[in-house]
């Protein structure tokens, strides 16, 4: 699967990237919201890990900017180190499939959840999995 990690924290990108790569996935990274939008449109990933609080565009702002069809075709997992303002409901309203607070309990468990969400989730994962 193709993953995109949008987070301004290098350690988060690195650890999540390592875990995903270890499971054989294709991983792209973006250091802020602005770059995240560019990569999203360019790579058309299956799953996106999106941080909430970032300099420039915040996670939710990225989702507002993003084209609807692209959004609907991607499995989006909102991640946040600050649980104050967002929760699973607000995430859903923004168009995300899952909200995960940082730090993650178990990074491999998270990868597994992401894979399952992509495969069995409501979004058109099958189509994306076999694009051609």
């Amino acid at each position: 699967m193709r993953f995109l990690i949008i987070d301004d924290e290098p350690l988060v990108r690195r650890s999540l990237g390592r875990a995903l790569s270890a499971k054989g996935h294709e991983v792209s990274e973006a250091v802020d919201g602005q770059e995240g939008l560019v990569r999203w449109r360019e790579k058309r990933p299956d799953v996106v890990f999106l941080d909430v609080l970032m300099p420039g565009l915040t996670g939710p702002q990225v989702l507002t900017e993003l084209e609807d069809d692209l959004k609907s075709r991607t499995t989006i997992i909102l991640i946040s180190a600050f649980s104050g303002e967002h929760n699973p409901e607000t995430a859903q309203r923004l168009g995300a499939d899952l909200f995960v607070p940082k730090p993650f309990e178990d990074i491999f468990a998270l990868v597994k959840i992401a894979e399952d969400l992509r495969t069995n989730g409501s979004k058109d994962g099958g189509e994306k999995r076999n694009p051609n």
Partner: protein, 626 residues
């Protein structure tokens, strides 16, 4: 015998031989006692002589035969005697007449004296009566001036009227105040006052006999009522409403001739009586007035006292001290032996300017507002009026606000720390998991990585605990009426608002919102407190509620300097403050925003620089329950 001749005879010669018993002589003596009787006799008998003297009181006796010389002599003597006698008689007569006249004169003199004495007696009685009447009047006036009630006055009049037996106890009908006409009368020697239901037709003239009044009173008392002497009493008043009217009614059975006496008696007493009534009326007004002041004074929520230059309490209300102790203010109010620390009184007395200070009493803090007054016209302040405002309640809510501001600050800090720490912790923990994946669990490295993971997990827990501590989430949502909440909150802000005019326009009485009342109270407190602080000089504070359809909005407007446009968006941010250091944490508005938003509301401000600011918040209006 010829009777008239006998009577006129002055000299009578009687021949004894004609009547030896001399009866004739006696007869003559009896009939003509003033005659001179001469007896002629021929026998010189002592018996005849004796008879002649005893029976006839003869003047002389001449013997028979007559000796003419002797006769002549005797007759001349007799005639002389007769003349003498005559003149005596005349004298006697004259003196008798004179005596009589004298007697008459004496009698008339006596009667004159008697008459005079009588007159003097009468006038003395009259004077005495007059004096006693005046004495009675003076006593009446003296007693009037000493009497302290209207009833006493009438009772005095009644007592004085007792001297007239045909006059009954007086009846007084009067109207002096808003109670309407009253009637005062005596029943079984007890004075009774009752409302007089008949319209009071006040007659300005005296009625010697008023049959209409008799009829009315007979109806009223349900008994026959005698003649009614009606006397109006004029009580001079300037301002009484309605015009007081008095009527004295005297039931009597006096004959017409005596009525004027009673009338005079009463008229003499009317002037002093009306003066006394007027005095009583003014006294009662004064008492009433002072009673009203006292009640007002006592009704005030704050303790208030008037204090003199040597700290003595002259007057105080009940809140100040239950009993009026003529003691020092610090003793009676705070139970202290010396002047309270922070007392503004000495400075106020010195400068003559109002001042305030904070004192402590039984563990509570009072703000003392002290105003100088002068009880001597035109002089320096002789006293102060102190108002003691209990600060503890306001202080409590302020401390709570400060506390939540502190907690808010801590929460914000904790949030930031959590964010900053959680990111590196994510990397730390996740990377440790990634690194451990390729290693056999029993290797040293795998175990070390496990330790790193555990340590980062502990850090994570610490952060979560910190967040839990500052965001205690238990909510106590209730249906709240904003109008009520404003009314409940304003008392706590009395001190902050005291300089300013308050304009309250609460128009959403029936509307409710869903919120935590204590928290919302903090928001109102905060907005009003800020508004008051923004107005350095005296200003107007307006608190309004507005029905905006789906929302209920509260406005807090001030007439302070306003908020520059550049910072209007910043003021709701944490730690933003325009107050001087130490006055606030700069969290009040951000906290208010957080609270309002936690109840799905909004907060904002409108302002024209130089004219003031209007802060508002609104909350979703609840559906009215049926």
């Amino acid at each position: 015998m010829n009777e008239p001749a006998l009577k006129q005879a002055r000299l009578i010669l009687v021949d004894a031989s004609l009547d030896p018993e001399l009866e004739i002589l006696r007869e003559i003596r009896e009939r003509a006692s003033s005659s001179i009787r001469v007896l002629v006799q021929d026998v010189d008998s002592p018996g005849i002589l004796r008879k002649a003297v005893n029976r006839g009181e003869v003047f002389s006796v001449i013997g028979w035969p007559l000796d003419y010389d002797l006769l002549k002599e005797s007759l001349r003597e007799a005639v002389t005697e007769a003349q003498l006698l005559d003149s005596r008689l005349r004298l006697l007569k004259e003196s008798t007449r004179q005596n009589r006249e004298l007697e008459k004169l004496t009698a008339s003199l006596e009667s004159l004296v008697e008459e005079r004495t009588h007159h003097i007696q009468i006038s003395k009685e009259f004077e005495e009566e007059k004096v006693s009447r005046i004495r009675g009047l003076i006593r009446f006036i003296q007693e009037l001036s000493g009497s302290s009630s209207f009833e006493d006055l009438i009772d005095l009049l009644r007592r004085d009227l007792r001297s007239f037996h045909q006059v009954h106890d007086p009846v007084m009908i009067y109207e002096i105040d808003s109670r309407g006409p009253q009637i005062v009368f005596w029943r079984n020697s007890m004075m009774q006052t009752r409302p007089w239901r008949h319209a009071m037709a006040f007659v300005p003239h005296i009625h010697l006999q008023d049959p209409e009044m008799s009829r009315r009173l007979a109806n009223y008392f349900a008994r026959p009522f005698g003649k009614a002497l009606v006397i109006p009493i004029d009580v001079s008043t300037q301002d009484a409403v309605p015009e007081p009217t008095f009527q004295l009614v005297l039931e009597n059975s006096l004959p017409e001739s005596d009525v004027s006496q009673v009338l005079d008696f009463c008229l003499e007493r009317l002037q002093p009586l009306s003066t006394a009534i007027e005095r009583l009326r003014m006294e009662s007004e004064l008492t009433h007035f002072s009673y009203r002041w006292e009640k007002t004074f006592d009704g005030l929520k704050d303790p208030i006292a008037i204090i003199d230059r040597s700290d003595r309490v002259l007057r105080s209300n009940k809140k100040f001290s239950e009993q009026l102790i003529k003691d020092s203010c610090f003793k009676s109010f705070a139970g202290k032996d010396e002047r309270c620390e922070g007392c503004p009184v000495p400075k106020v007395l010195m400068t003559g300017q109002a001042g305030k200070g904070e004192i402590r009493r039984h563990g509570r803090v009072y703000e003392v507002h002290s105003y100088p007054i002068s009880l001597v016209p035109g002089g320096k302040p002789t006293n102060v009026v102190n108002q003691y405002v209990d600060q503890s309640q306001a202080r409590e809510i302020y401390m709570r606000l400060l506390q939540s501001e502190k907690m808010g600050a801590l929460g914000l800090l904790a949030g930031n720390i959590a964010h900053e720490l959680n990111n590196p912790l994510t990397g730390l923990r996740s990377l440790a998991q990634v690194l451990r994946m390729g290693l056999a669990a029993e290797t040293q490295t795998a175990q070390d990585l496990g330790e790193i993971e555990k340590a980062s997990e502990r850090c994570q827990k610490i952060i979560r605990n910190l967040l839990d501590f500052v965001h205690h989430d238990e909510k106590n949502l209730q249906d709240v009426r904003l109008d009520d909440l404003v009314e409940k909150t304003l008392p706590f802000l009395k001190t902050a608002m005291r300089m300013h005019r308050l304009n309250k326009e609460l128009t959403t009485a029936g509307l409710s919102v869903r919120a935590e009342p204590q928290l919302l109270q903090q928001v109102i407190f905060n907005l009003v407190h800020n508004a008051c602080q923004a107005m350095e000089k005296q200003g107007t504070l307006t608190i309004e509620t507005e029905d905006r359809g789906a929302f209920v909005r509260l406005w807090v407007r001030d007439t302070g300097p306003g908020i520059p446009e550049g910072i209007r968006t910043q003021i709701f941010e944490p730690f933003f403050t325009t107050k001087r250091e130490g006055s606030g944490t700069g969290l009040g508005l951000s906290l208010s925003k957080e609270i309002v938003e936690s109840f799905s509301g909004r907060i904002g401000v409108e302002s024209v620089e130089g004219e003031g600011a209007s802060f508002w918040f609104e909350l979703p209006r609840l559906e009215e329950k049926a």
